[in-house]
């Protein structure tokens, strides 16, 4: 059987003639896509865990000041909230990130001992803490990490706390967190009378009203009763909070720089390749290849580089996510699942990066004069 030459086969052979250069370029784009998959996968996993946390606790709305990490909501707003007809429960909370030891930092929550948010946690040992006491509860992942059991002492920012209990949380953000009485958290941070947010459970949707409409009505009711505060639906808040936004921005920013370097690598390879093949491009033009066909050939080579680099990058990124999901320091905020959307995005970005990088060299190659190109040494 005679071997038939295809357009794609021709492109591949052109790339394969300079194996080392092709592989090095491929390595560059693979690292960039690997960074994208690892970092963006990490930040999305982080957002997903937030959403899981809200959903598992049954929180419908979070009432916050303008920014997420701003602990300046007056605790007294709780009474107004609880009096609203749509509100079933409203519980104050403080969120912080604390260094528990030089090696371990953890999300720290300040809750009331009677918070409904305990409903989603399973007590594994010990008991729930008491308000007004220097006590904490540790997520099982954190407790294992710090080798702490119920009854042990734990020093946080110069204050000795007793580990009242160990719990298991529905979200990795809870499993790796420390929860202490709200008043103790306020004392630690000199935040007496202030909270980060109120988490609100709404009463059941009245008959004849859609859940969406009911949620919007409750939001409007809360914001009217508490001017200056925002009532944010829980699902929206998972993606809206500054920690998640910060991680998204860092992920896209870092992988964007890596992608730019990868694109420059492909562009350099393609520009050199076109220069070295000037005479061959002249031959193609002499044999009747139209400009657009030469352009497509060179772009196809760049796209193949991008695609192959993308596949390798996905493997690298997925591997790094697996490692992060296994490390004690990051296991609490990363899940090892690999969403197909991220895979599709990574491949799309890789191919687009290849096409963008190849555009100028392809344009130059396609516009070579056949006579001049044939004279080229």
């Amino acid at each position: 059987m005679a071997s038939q030459l295809s357009f794609a086969g021709f492109a591949w052979k052109n790339l394969w003639r300079r194996r080392l250069r092709t592989l090095l370029t491929l390595g560059g784009i693979a690292m960039a896509i690997g960074a994208f998959v690892g970092l963006v996968g990490f930040s999305r996993s982080f957002e997903h865990e937030w959403l899981r946390m809200y959903l598992s606790s049954g929180t419908d709305i979070a009432v916050v000041q303008q920014t997420f990490l701003n602990t300046s909501v007056s605790e007294s707003a709780g009474a107004t909230l609880k009096a609203l007809p749509t509100v079933a429960q409203a519980t104050p909370m403080i969120l912080n990130l604390m260094d528990l030891t030089p090696e371990v930092n953890a999300l720290s929550y300040g809750w009331k001992a009677d918070s409904y948010e305990f409903d989603s946690l399973t007590l594994k040992s010990g008991r729930r803490f008491l308000d007004g006491q220097p006590e904490v509860m540790l997520g099982d992942l954190l407790a294992e990490n710090m080798k702490k059991n119920a009854g042990d002492a734990l020093e946080i920012q110069g204050t000795t706390f007793t580990v009242a209990g160990i719990y298991h949380g529905g979200s990795a953000l809870e499993a790796g967190a420390v929860i202490m009485p709200l008043d103790q958290m306020q004392k630690l941070g000199s935040l007496e009378g202030k909270v980060t947010a109120f988490h609100v459970r709404l009463r059941p949707t009245p008959p004849g009203e859609t859940p969406e409409h009911y949620l919007a009505r409750a939001q409007a009711e809360i914001e009217a009763a508490l001017p200056g505060l925002r009532a944010v639906p829980a699902a929206k808040r998972a993606g809206n909070n500054q920690l998640v936004q910060l991680s998204h921005a860092a992920a896209w920013g870092t992988s964007g720089i890596a992608l730019l370097i990868g694109i420059l690598g492909i562009a350099n390879t393609m520009a050199m390749s076109v220069f070295e093949r000037t005479r061959e491009i002249g031959i193609l033009r002499a044999l009747g290849w139209k400009r657009w066909r030469v352009l497509v050939l060179i772009e196809m080579e760049a796209a193949v580089l991008g695609l192959a680099g993308g596949i390798a990058g996905i493997v690298i990124g997925w591997g790094s996510l697996r490692v992060l999901a296994a490390l004690p320091q990051t296991a609490s905020i990363v899940s090892a699942s690999f969403p197909l959307l991220l895979l599709a995005e990574a491949l799309g970005i890789a191919v687009l990066a290849g096409l963008a990088a190849g555009l100028i060299p392809a344009w130059r190659g396609a516009h070579l004069s056949p006579v001049e190109a044939l004279r080229h040494d």
Partner: protein, 221 residues
Amino acid sequence: MTEPILEVRDVRMSYDEGRIEALRGVDLAIHAGEFLAISGPSGSGKSTLLQLLGGLDTPTSGEVLFKNTQLGSAINLDTYRSKSVGFIFQAFHLMPTLRVLENVQVPMLALSPAPHNRAERAETLLREMGLQDRLRQYPNELSAGERQRVAIARALANSPEILLADEPTGNLDSVNSARIMEILTGIQKQRGMTLIVVTHENEIAHSAAHQIRLRDGRIEA
């Protein structure tokens, strides 16, 4: 008398903003099935004339007509090169990364759509050139004579009406030169093709049915 397949009317070609004049008013008519040799000393403009006849370039002034239609305006040059002419170069110009069989298929990829039986057609042409044992070799594994035979097969890939050869024996020894010219003239006779050969070898020039000699960009009387 039939219409010429190619006609050159008062063609001038200059470079470097007119400082170099490669052709200075050339008129020429070539008929279908004709074997024309273009000879002349180096720098006389013979390769430039071949490039214009092959649609690789357009003249500074004057016209090149294919079947009475002007090249470059009424006929797209890319289409003309892919369908109507086959090029054979002195330096062979084969693709080093492609096998012999694949090299012959390259012009077929210029067609839209590319023929489905590309490999079979290429193999047939290579068999006609006596290269049936060389299909899977790369160009650097062939002798100079074999490479030129691959180039001839490639030039015939899209069944053109005109074969243009620029010093086709310039890189060959006398035995291979004779064989290549035998193949070219054989093709011209069997297929009734128009064969235009640029050469500085008198023996080849004299073997053509028609010949012109260029000097300083003009056809010598």
